[in-house]
């Protein structure tokens, strides 16, 4: 169990880091939409629309690190499988 939790912690950290990098390493807050600007040819006003897109930010990285820390911390409550002692071997 200890191993599983530790591996899960590493996986969460890696997955979050890779997702953050792949989506453009946004150093701001997480966004669920991005601005798309279009110029109106007649009025020359820059129209603003929002396109749905998940853009993880530093809060996403922080949250993932917290989850990984919790998993890692929980793993400390589990002991490693006991190796048979010398006496047990003799028995």
């Amino acid at each position: 169990m200890k191993r599983i939790l530790q591996r899960m912690a590493v996986l969460v950290l890696l997955a979050a880091g890779i997702t953050w990098l792949v989506t453009g390493a946004n150093r701001g807050w997480t966004k669920t939409s991005v601005v798309v600007k279009t110029l109106d040819p007649v009025t020359e006003i820059e129209g603003i629309t929002y396109q749905k897109k998940f853009l993880p930010g530093l809060d996403f990285l922080g949250g993932s690190a917290l989850v990984a820390a919790l998993l890692g911390g929980t793993s400390l409550f589990f002991r490693k499988k006991n190796q048979p002692t010398q006496n047990q071997k003799q028995d």
Partner: protein
């Protein structure tokens, strides 16, 4: 003394042309927008509003006489972060349920300068936000586009009026979290408006 009918007609035509036009800013294309910017830790918060309506009376022969009211629907204010958007609309911040409209009622124009179809001026009016009204003055640019409505909306004839304005407000002046979270959400908010209204000729 009788007035020649042609002279009378020409006088009437001049009078009709000189009359101020009323421009409606309800925008079926959804291009009109108001942008707000404020500094915050991590990054500058930038959002916009699209729910814009209102009317402006504008006379191309006398731009200084421009008056009108622009209304922004509070619910249409948005930012790309959903949690920030929720907080912004909540009772603790803008309370859009209680104060659904942000308005600016233009009362007068000063320092009016007109070159061809573009007028720049300083507009003074009443800005209402979060239930608080304050008189403010801001630079404004009015661009009159005669007979251009059909290019925007086929089957309709008329004129367009493009308004651009930028100004700065302090959220504390409008009782928005007065004295609170100044380290997290700046007191100073930059606002800019880019809108086009139509005067339909029937």
């Amino acid at each position: 003394m009788k007035l020649h009918p042609l002279i009378a007609l020409s006088c009437l035509a001049t009078a009709v042309h000189a009359a101020p036009e009323t421009f409606d800013f309800k925008d079926p294309k959804g291009v009109n927008n108001a942008v707000f910017k404020l500094t915050a830790p991590l990054e500058t918060i930038e959002g916009s509003a699209s729910g814009i309506s209102g009317t402006v009376s504008f006379d191309p022969e006398n731009p200084a006489a421009t008056t009108g009211k622009i209304v922004v629907a509070g619910k249409s204010l948005t930012v790309p972060n959903p949690m920030q958007r929720e907080h912004m609309h909540s009772a603790k911040w803008l309370d859009v349920a209680k104060y659904p409209e942000i308005t600016f009622a233009a009362e007068s124009l000063a320092n009016v300068k007109t070159e061809t179809n573009v007028t720049t001026a300083d507009v003074t009016g009443i800005f209402t936000l979060h239930g608080v009204s304050k008189k403010i003055t801001a630079p404004i640019k009015l661009t009159y586009l005669a007979d251009k409505l059909s290019a925007e909306r086929p089957n309709l004839k008329g004129d367009l009026l493009v308004i651009r304005a930028s100004f700065v407000i302090n959220r504390e002046d409008f009782n928005i979290q007065k004295g609170q979270f100044l380290d997290k959400v700046a007191n100073t908010i930059d606002l800019s408006l880019s809108i086009a209204g139509a005067a339909i000729i029937k």
